[in-house]
Amino acid sequence: MLQKLVGKLKPNPNEGSILIIKDSATIPDFSLLYSMFFNKAALYKSSHVILFEHTEEDFFKVNKGIIPYQVTVHECYHYQYMTKLQLQVKLQRIFCSFPAEEIIICFDSLNPWIQVASASSVIQTLCQLQNLPCSIEILAVIHTDLISESVNLQFSKIVGTTLCMDKKPSLDLDTSKLVCNGKSLKPSGKILFFIESFLVSTDFKLETKTCLSQSTTQISQQNEKNVASPPCIATFDISTKQEEILQKNLLVLPYTKMNESGSIIYEADYDDDLDYDDPDEDLEF
């Protein structure tokens, strides 16, 4: 599945795709990000890298001149010294410099941007980039243990594909490889789940091995709350039609009459021997 993501077709204009790689302090990883970026960048006319956590020197040390095509590097390593407005202006200038054609953008980490600006501002900007009138793909890393669960959830709503590396590889796998739990949203609404181990070679080629078989979940657009309805799980039809519901509501049960106080009114028959004396009359309260 990871190999398919690398070779995935370019998105349509105004329908840019976002791929997020989630890692943690115990399993930090940039190899998958760079592998996906360098393999995909060959398909795009314009490739950009925006660096928050690495310097330009680090970046070129990583690719060691292997990449034959031009990658534009934008360094924001000194983000700590910028105010929110200054960073926003700098990023806007970077985004405005993008040509109006096929673009792939790689953020080495979104956490510093979230730290200076805010999660909602970052999400808004990513959505704006997604809607640019050109084919655009965005790859980024998020460190999950540095953001709150609510921010994590906000990102998962706008992201098409999420690759998580925050779970430790199990012991029976080759420990030289990392394990990736992936979730990919297809245009049809299906969500594809997969677990694959991968290894990135020094020339950024990706070797993968499927750990678990893929499973899909169909999202019903009408029922986003995902509530299980009894008729679907029963072997026989217990659903009620509109006419049946109406008749049920009109039915008045016997011995039940509604009055203002809501009490039950009982009309005695001829044979009933009703005693109207107070049974507690002899008690002194």
Partner: protein, 256 residues
């Protein structure tokens, strides 16, 4: 300084930590004795130390490092050591006094950490190009207890990281994991992610022992074949006034 720790981590007076962000974490014990080691290591190597004291006074470090063979007062006079006294600023804040000398001593404000960062930046810039330096903040997590917002503390930490990448300097601080500050659990992942070396100290689960004071784990991060690799070395330790004894877990002389 502690030779056994140097051997374990691959450091020496000829091979000092280079542009590293080192943080010491302790739980169930006190790891500040490792600060004395680094101060003595850098001074003995003839390099520069910027010591920011928040938890302990300069006199404390002077006495402790004196036992490791480093004269802090003399180094300060010679310009090899610069001391920034944040304890005094805290005291002035508490006593509502202001000193006419420097801005930091007037007490804490919302710009204190920025001013501290600027001061450290200038001090590191003033170090000769051929010299290495280390910036030691004896307890960064104490700023949380002093009322600084966690965002400011994290920003300060990131700025220190930036200094280590742009200058031949390393940064060292301590994080007490059993501290009372609410935001401590949020601070640790930041330290862990952006740090290059963690010295993790834990007290023995069975309690205090005269011969084994706890466990020391050295976690060094490096890049190999595009992957981030952690090199972990675990030892048990016994610390005295002048030495640190390290031994494999369960091999203390008291046990064997």
């Amino acid at each position: 300084m502690f030779e056994e720790l140097n051997r374990l981590a691959g450091w020496s007076t000829e091979k000092l930590p280079d542009r590293e962000v080192i943080f010491i974490t302790d739980k169930g014990c006190n790891g500040t004795f490792l600060l004395h080691h680094f101060i003595a290591l850098y001074l003995k190597a003839g390099q520069h130390v910027v010591l920011v004291t928040v938890e302990q006074s300069f006199a404390h470090y002077s006495v402790a490092c004196g036992k490791l063979g480093a004269n802090l007062t003399k180094s300060k006079t010679e310009g090899k050591l610069t001391h920034v006294d944040m304890m005094k600023a805290g005291l002035n804040e508490y006593l509502q006094e202001s000193s006419p000398t420097d801005q930091l001593s007037k007490g804490f404000s919302n710009k204190t950490l920025e001013q501290l960062n600027d001061m450290i930046h200038d001090l590191v810039n003033s170090v000769p190009v051929d010299k290495k330096s280390i910036v030691i903040v004896d307890d960064l997590s104490l700023f949380l207890s002093l009322g600084f917002p966690i965002e400011d503390v994290i920003t300060f930490y990131h700025k220190m990281k930036y200094i280590t990448r742009t200058k031949p300097a390393s940064f060292l601080t301590v994080l007490h994991l059993d501290g009372s500050a609410e935001d401590l659990p949020t601070l640790y992942p930041n330290f862990s992610y952006y740090g290059t070396c963690e010295l993790k100290l834990e007290g023995l689960e069975s309690g205090y022992s005269k011969d084994v004071h706890g466990t020391l784990e050295v976690i060094q991060k490096s890049m190999k074949n595009l992957r981030t690799v952690f090199e972990r070395k675990v030892r048990q330790y016994k610390v005295t006034e002048r030495t640190l004894h390290l031994f494999a877990p369960g091999t203390s002389k008291a046990v064997l």
